[in-house]
Amino acid sequence: MERVPVLSLGDALLVSIQIDLQDNTVLALQEDLAERIVSTGARGVLIDISAVDIVDSFIGRMFASIAALSRLLDAETVVVGMRPAVAITLVELGLSLAGVRTALDVERGMKILRALSDRREVRQADEADADLVPVAEGGGPAAGA
């Protein structure tokens, strides 16, 4: 069985699928990604499927579970490069991949991951600030007594 390599780039993991996917390869990729997210602390996973000529229900479900499991491990997933014929077939198959974020190419996918990561940092900074604000600072009912 061939394995799909997982590359680490900054705080993201990159997966470019260049082989014909058989079911065991798909399951192994799922496990590899879960382990690598935890070991690298990656915040994003980008899966490039521009070389994938078919996505059937098993492979499609894999994208959905990778997106779900990375969210549980505090990372976001973007699937990029889906071929038009694959998209048409998936919809006809009844698989809309709701919950899987997509982008047209790697560049846009990385942009999405960066934006998500920035937003998260802002939110964490806000929460940290909120912790520091003293309760009833000046002018409060208790202050004038």
Partner: protein
């Protein structure tokens, strides 16, 4: 009248065999110049059915041939196993109904992706699914 040429049979015993069936169907679909979308639909259907043959039938075969009728060409793919068979075909063809851990889109999805679909199954005897996709 429909004529058939180039019959080729592949075993389905492993996940790699499923990949080989996809590749054969893709090559034959390209030969008869199915459109890219139709090739993709047929290969996707073949992938679902070959997996069914492996997972539910235990193992089996895929037979692929080129058809010709009234100036149009087509690809026929037959997936046969001698597994347990399907007790309730109507139920098995319902989108979302699943016998196991899948999404229940295999059989119903494959049917939507092809022009002709036939299923022949009997409990204890096995299952044969035949699909055809024609050029436009």
């Amino acid at each position: 009248m429909t004529t058939s040429t180039g019959v080729e049979e592949l075993p389905i015993r492993t996940g790699d065999d499923v990949v080989r069936v996809r590749q054969l169907v893709r090559a034959r679909a390209q030969e008869v110049r199915l459109s890219l979308v139709d090739q993709t639909k047929l290969v996707t259907a073949a992938s679902e059915l070959a997996r069914n043959t492996l997972v539910h039938g235990g193992s089996g075969t895929a037979t692929v041939e080129t058809l010709s009728r009234d100036g149009r060409s087509g690809i026929r793919a037959v997936f046969a196993d001698e597994g347990p068979g399907i007790p309730d075909v109507d139920q098995a063809l319902t989108p979302g109904w699943t016998s196991g851990s899948g999404l229940g889109l295999g059989l119903s999805g494959a049917r939507k992706l092809v022009d002709e679909f036939a299923i022949d199954t009997a409990v204890g005897r096995g299952t044969t699914v035949t699909v055809v996709k024609w050029t436009r």
